[in-house]
């Protein structure tokens, strides 16, 4: 016994870095929507970067700790409180048995990640603890958390060494217009030159049709040469599908493994931390970058995470 869900919030699921190796069998990757923030939460809480966390969406949960443990919350600011007092994000926090972690209201961004020292007692399904809701596997009974659920800790601790050093600067800051950098392709040649210009110069608005599978945008229509259908091929995290209607859909963690719509570009991995925080009404612009540049950014992020991980060595 370790945490009891008093209120599940809007959509709280167990996620790790995803179910790798089964896309060839039609199994979605799932996993956290923002691998970077989840990794940082884990490092702060003394875990390996890949440990499963709770991913909270907009309205976070209310969790009662039946056992003490150290936690860290990263990602968006959903207004976390501990026994009614504000609790800082991006910091290791020692929670005592009996205390209640409650998220009051979203202040910045859309998704927060809670890491628990020692990890959650969730069985591995196909090598991962990620919840894959559509197939009802992984995570807590293959579904989002519900009131009354009790989740165990695997190896809880009352405190960690160097607690005072386990602090980072929050990474997400709200902006009037967000920039998402993209690598063009795989089907950018299915669009007219004007269509590409529209995509790279237009401002798009996030619609309420935004779940763990995809994020539908509204804005200037992107012109295809002949239409938006292709013979199905694979879909990457962050792929920007443009069906014949001409408005984009960004594919996310629970995306299908294959699909038959043209994909104009792919959001770079280094910017998933922004993508995961978008919510209905937010404005987005796309900027293209070379793939080598995108990989350089990702590797710099990973190197920084590795350096931070030394606190747990």
């Amino acid at each position: 016994m370790s945490i009891t869900v008093l209120n599940p919030g809007l959509l709280t699921t167990v996620q790790d870095q995803g179910r790798i190796g089964y896309q060839q069998f039609g199994v979605s990757v799932s996993g956290v929507m923002d691998p970077r923030s989840a990794a940082l939460a884990n490092i702060l809480a003394g875990n390996g970067q890949e440990e499963a966390v709770l991913e909270c969406t907009m309205m976070g949960p209310q969790l009662q700790f039946d056992k003490a443990n150290v936690i860290a919350i990263t990602g968006g600011d959903l207004g976390p409180t501990l026994d009614g007092k504000a609790v800082p994000g991006y910091q290791a926090v020692a929670v005592k048995a009996g205390q209640v972690l409650k998220f009051t209201a979203p202040k910045a961004g859309c998704r927060a990640f809670i890491a628990f020292a020692g990890g959650l007692d969730i069985p591995l399904t196909m090598g991962s603890r990620s919840t894959y809701m559509k197939a009802k596997i992984g995570g807590f009974k293959g579904r989002k958390l519900e009131k009354g659920d009790v989740i165990g800790f695997r190896a809880p601790v009352e405190t960690l060494k160097r607690m005072e050093d386990r602090v980072l600067k929050p990474e997400f800051a709200p902006k009037p217009v967000y920039t998402l950098r993209v690598v063009m392709g795989p089907q950018d040649d299915y669009f007219t030159g004007a269509g590409i210009d529209t995509f790279l110069s237009g401002t798009y608005t996030v619609t309420p049709e935004f779940d763990r599978m995809g994020c539908r945008l509204d804005g200037p229509v992107i012109a295809h040469k002949e239409g938006g259908d292709i013979i199905s091929d694979g879909i990457a995290f962050g792929a920007i599908q443009v069906p014949s209607a001409g408005t984009p859909i960004i594919m996310l963690g629970d995306r299908q493994t294959t699909g038959g719509y043209t994909k104009i570009a792919t959001v770079i991995t280094a910017d998933f931390r922004i993508l995961a925080q978008l919510k209905a009404g937010d404005k987005v612009q796309f900027v293209k970058v070379p793939v080598e540049y995108a990989q350089g950014l990702l590797l710099a992020q990973r190197a920084a995470q590795k350096a931070l991980s030394k606190i747990n060595a």
Binding site: G26, T125, G234, T258
Partner: protein, 246 residues
């Protein structure tokens, strides 16, 4: 291999496209390349996803960056005709055809085709269907090669729940529902074989590039195999495919 294109799918994967049509020969090239890649010493490959006409290669840029990976993949393509690829495997899938519970639409499919139910079963069991790819849900196979003589449009109103194992026809496609799901396929029978079981050592039975051959069984055999699946697991019969086999 002149027509092979490398498409950028972001910064951690690349799509190797072998053509722009659905054909057995393109799919055979994808399978060969996938096998060659998994047997190669190219580092940093995370997973591969074969589809109708391409192979998506996911990689870790921390281990291998884009440019050197491209060089290695192109090099591998160049050697592809020198690599021996084993023949595809045929999975033999038992099906109880017809009946109100298992195959409620067999009668309609037969009427639509102007044939008897027995003739539909004979046609459906006489082909080795290529598994072009899996997708949509865990274990869902996109099969090719069904005889147009038994092609039947989807139901006008989809069913709310179709049990796992149901074998159906939709247009000129045929396939098996791996999990309980809603759907509009014409159901002609059911297999007791579990195509998908998340908690099994090999969670998903079929693989892209294999073939499926259905064969008809009776209720007694269905019950026997179902019981075996529920107990220690049933091993489907499989054999290497003969060149040009049907």
């Amino acid at each position: 291999m002149a027509d092979v294109r490398f498409l950028l799918t972001g910064d951690t994967s690349v799509c190797v496209e072998f053509g722009n049509e659905i054909s057995e020969s393109i799919n055979a090239q994808i399978r060969a390349f996938n096998i060659a890649l998994s047997n190669s010493d190219i580092p940093g490959i995370v997973e591969t996803v074969p589809t109708y006409r391409s192979l998506m290669v996911h990689y870790d840029p921390e281990v291998i960056r884009y440019a050197p990976l491209m060089d290695k993949l192109k090099g591998l393509l160049g050697q592809l005709d020198k690599i021996t690829i084993p023949p595809s495997e045929v999975l033999e899938i038992p099906v109880l055809y017809g009946g109100e519970e298992m195959g409620p639409d067999l009668k309609f499919v037969a009427e639509h085709a102007g044939k008897t139910e027995e003739e539909v079963i004979k046609i459906h069991t006489s082909t080795e269907y290529l598994i072009y790819m899996l997708g949509f849900t865990p274990g869902f196979t996109y099969l090719g090669g069904m005889d147009e003589a038994i092609a039947t449009p989807r139901l006008k109103t989809p069913r709310v729940k179709i049990p796992a194992g149901s074998v159906g026809i939709a247009g000129s496609q045929t396939g098996v529902y791996p999990i309980d799901s809603p759907g509009g396929w014409q159901l002609i029978g059911r297999t007791p074989v579990r195509m998908y079981d998340a908690n099994r050592k090999t969670p998903i039975l079929p693989q892209a590039g294999q073939y499926i051959k259905f064969y008809a069984i009776d209720q007694a055999e269905f019950d026997r195999i179902a019981a075996q699946e529920a107990a220690e697991g049933y091993q489907v019969k499989r054999h290497p495919r003969k060149e040009g086999g049907k």
